[in-house]
Symmetry: C2
Subunit: 581 residues, 2 copies
């Protein structure tokens, strides 16, 4: 009797599909179907384009948009997230795999598939062990800077397709040098198609919807038509290329895309390959997760829904494993397409599954029609898509708010552009953590006095306060731990040595959230040294959890002074009444 009751909640935790499928009805189905059609139309050119960005055959973009979406529909918790190949992860895939194999070889493809598999395993394991908090160590500004720099890199990398020349490299310098070297080979017709498509797509984005609305079209339909802009560009340029025989005039085309079901593929299990790809897979996993979960949370908040980050890891992990099994490459939740999915009315992850069916039909039926599609058209759709990610204002915003954040962002952007995505994002994380630790290792210490007429103590340098020459009260604005233990020791002794009448030192611990073993030893040393100078050490406003721990050590027995509940009590006890008023 109790067994089902016990196991069921657990099952639906790991299979969110069991929750929402129970109340699935005809109305939800309609909403999901409409959203799926719109996202499918948007996803077809994007999938092809991002696969080319990753240096992979176009069809791998389609394959990565089928089975992974089904897996996410089963395991994901977001109702609106649309999973598939995205720009930044495609760029990172190219950087990771490009180190190991040459584009266009079977090794390159196998490495991309294996990368998806390793990333899937990492995400799933992180989800099972509830390690989602690791993503918190990517600070918002570092992510913003990384995405901006990636957008610039991606747009630059696509210029070669617009010019119709060869160019290589994973950094801005390499790409620019390579483009400059080959620019005399520019194919004018390709350039015309590329720039024309860019202009057309920008116009579609800004100008088409108002025009359609002006002709009396319903807003919803106008929206859908505007989103179909890239499909329009694909159709027009493909027809033009076919009709005028532009492929013979040097316009590079997508060429033969195999027709049929996604193939069953297996990742390589070579220890060497796993070793070379592991760090890249970890970075891709974390970046993909952070990007995906922040979109999902934004959309969920709008409908007062909740997503479960640790289950999201499992959703994205299984999606990537599914990608590796079906000829795809690393995927994650995409920003633009999830917003479209949400706006189009998707109610449940079933919309994603229907999108998968749409892409499957495209893979089965439409691929021969893509033969004459110019690569310049796809490059143009990528450029227009990623330029919306580029936002250098994070530099000015952090500059005015916090130089530490600015340093981390500036380093992330600079290193991503000059040394590539992996160095850039790793440096951003390491620098954020390092600067945080450095700050906490040299804490702010304020000497405080009583604000007249209150029981409140503030910095003597910032407020008019009452102090007493025999008592110095220092408020330490940081937890005490190994990195600042020695700092406190030096600071206190320096402060006390130069000031003769001091008889009592009070450490006001309202901001001390932790005293670790190293800091405890430093406090013992401070107590000892002050006692040698005939100065008594007191503590005030020690928090419950900190006090609990101090009671388990010898420190309170050896302390020359007392522990006061409040700083006001301390001041009352240590100074003659008439002096502090």
């Amino acid at each position: 009797m109790t067994l089902p009751a016990l196991t069921r909640p657990d099952l639906s935790r790991y299979f969110p599909i069991l929750q929402w499928s129970k109340t699935y009805d005809r109305e939800t189905l309609t909403s999901d179907l409409v959203a799926a059609v719109i996202v499918t139309i948007m996803l077809i050119p994007q999938s092809l384009a991002y696969a080319l960005l990753a240096g992979l055959p176009a069809e791998m973009g389609l394959y990565a948009s089928i089975l992974p979406l089904i897996a996410y529909a089963v395991f994901g918790t977001s109702r609106a997230l649309a999973v598939g190949p995205v720009a930044v992860v495609s760029l990172m895939t190219a950087a990771a795999v490009g180190n190991l194999a040459v584009q266009g070889t079977a090794e390159y493809i196998a490495a991309a598939i294996t990368l998806a598999f390793i990333s899937g395993v990492i995400l799933t394991v992180m989800g099972l062990f509830r390690l989602g908090f690791i993503a918190n160590f990517l600070s918002h500004p570092v992510i913003a800077g990384f995405i901006t720099a990636s957008g610039v890199l991606i747009a630059t990398s696509q210029f070669k397709h617009i010019l119709g020349v060869d160019a290589h490299g994973h950094t801005l310098v390499d790409l620019a040098a390579s483009l400059f070297e080959n620019q005399h080979l520019t194919n004018p017709i390709t350039l015309f198609i590329g720039l024309g498509t860019v202009a057309f797509l920008f116009w579609v984005r800004k100008g088409l919807k108002p025009l359609l609305l002006a002709t009396g079209l319903k807003p919803r339909l106008a929206d859908i038509l505007a989103k179909a802009g890239p499909v329009g560009a694909v159709v027009i340029t493909t027809l033009a290329t076919w009709a005028f025989g532009l492929a013979d005039k040097g316009v590079k085309i997508v060429g033969e895309v195999p027709m049929g079901l996604p193939p069953l593929t297996l990742p390589s299990f070579s220890a060497d390959l796993w070793g070379s790809l592991f760090v890249s897979a970890l970075l891709i996993s974390i970046i993909g997760f952070v990007e995906s979960v922040s979109v999902a949370q934004t959309l969920a908040a709008k409908k007062r829904q909740r997503i479960v980050p640790d289950q999201e890891l499992i959703g994205l992990g299984t999606s990537n494993i599914a990608a590796a099994m079906s000829g795809g490459y690393p995927v994650t939740g995409g920003f633009a397409r999830s917003v479209v999915n949400f706006d189009a009315g998707a109610e449940t992850p079933a919309a994603g599954a229907f999108t998968a069916v749409g892409i499957l039909l495209a893979a089965l039926l439409l691929t021969p029609l893509l033969y004459f599609l110019p690569q310049a058209t796809l490059a143009a759709t990528i450029i227009v898509a990623v330029l919306s990610l580029v936002d250098f204002s994070i530099l000015t915003r952090t500059w005015s708010y916090s130089k530490v954040d600015f340093t981390a962002v500036a380093a992330t952007i600079f290193l991503t552009l000059t040394l590539g995505v992996e160095v850039g994002v790793s440096a951003g994380v390491i620098l954020s953590v390092g600067l945080f630790l450095y700050k906490t290792s040299r804490p702010h210490v304020a000497e405080v006095g009583l604000v007249p007429g209150t029981q409140h103590f503030r910095n003597i340098l910032r407020h008019e306060v009452i102090t007493h020459p025999n008592v110095v009260t220092l408020r330490i604005d940081e937890s005490l731990y190994f990195a600042n233990a020695r700092f406190l020791e030096d600071y206190l002794v320096d402060r006390v040595i130069c000031d003769q009448p001091i008889r009592h030192v009070v450490l006001m611990c309202s901001a001390v959230n932790e005293i670790d073993m190293s800091a405890l030893e430093s406090l013992e040393a401070i107590n000892h040294r002050l006692s040698d100078m005939d100065i008594t050490l007191h503590l005030s406003e020690v928090k419950g959890p900190v006090m609990d721990r101090l009671k388990r050590s010898h420190f309170l027995d050896d302390l020359t002074g007392r522990v006061f509940l409040s700083q006001y009590d301390a001041m009352q006890a240590l100074t003659p009444k008439h002096e502090t008023g």
Copy 2:
């Protein structure tokens, strides 16, 4: 006129010798000379023994105790620190160089010399850039655990010399397996010499001084004689080995030690070698610096002197460069010999320079006498010396005080023993930092109320306090930064959603020492979401530096509520007077 005044203080900052040499007189000279004689006697057997521990020819220990001491006398700031080869650094040298070359080869020696040079460069550069604070990231418990585990490893590694068998390995398991495999080859005479010396040295340490005092000797002389115990063991066993021809009976001896001045040597500048040794050199530098600086600080505090950690880095850096130039290997300040130096009355670093002269004389004159010195004797002096470093009580002390510290120590000890010194100490540092970050990423949040009769607010779960149903006050016990920004968002919304009558949320920021850009964005999101629920967000007790920064953002303009100087002001303003009394 102004030029000398400007440059002189700077020069004496980098050359502390310019400070103490000015007041150097005959009395100081006598004190320094006496200390130098005692330390020289102690250092001769130790230098030989530690060189063997590092897998190097015995004379390199002597060479490492000459020029480095002169360099430290010029650049160091501690008056009592005795520099030279030490046990832990010798073990780390063996581990680092043992990965690259076979003991006894010219490559092995060249690598050890290069290691000293790289370590010297790292220390000097750290000193010039004032990076001494990096050492703070080694927590006290991690150092204690590492030294204990290293002591165990060193003692175990010396057992082979006591048994007179071959054994290899840098981990406890390898060493034990290797000893067990070869134990049937044990040489009984070697074993007798080894165990006899161990017993003798323990007796000298515990029993000799009281005995000498009982015979009426002056305490000072008794002390010196007790310290000369290892020299006594060296003399006795060398004579016995020579007289009874024990070398022919399988007792391994030191053999020929070249007589003469230290050779002029140069490190290798091969990029490959530097690449392979860099991480090891960094670890050796930091461990050596931490060990040395803590001894120096302890001794300086006893005489109210001060050491300058960043200048200490330069002192140790130049010592290591000097070691590399004169056939030595990595050195640092030793604990035992510095204490002896201090107790013997050393007043200035000149005592170190005199010790160098003593060792130089030994290298010039005494080396032929060391020919028949059994290796077992040296091993016994090492074992007795390092066993005083072994102190597992750090495990029980951290267990009762802080599980986080315990985890870091236990991992350091376990990994040092099983995977070697470099993995052990790296894991200790990474784990300490990681656990600190993890703790700060899930901060303690206390709901607080007014302690009756005061203006002081404490945790409602720990104290009898006054609260108001419409107002919830949360004291966040941590700085707000990227790692906990999302946590706060989730925590607050969860707390507020389930409690209907809440109209005001006050964040009491007395423990918030920093709000970075990520946390600012989270606060903006919180403000927005609470406003959607018709709840007003207030802040109280925001510190000066935090407030300065908030004023530079839009947050205060968008904040639905107010910022109160004190929590008491907030409570007064937000609740009807009669209810809070």
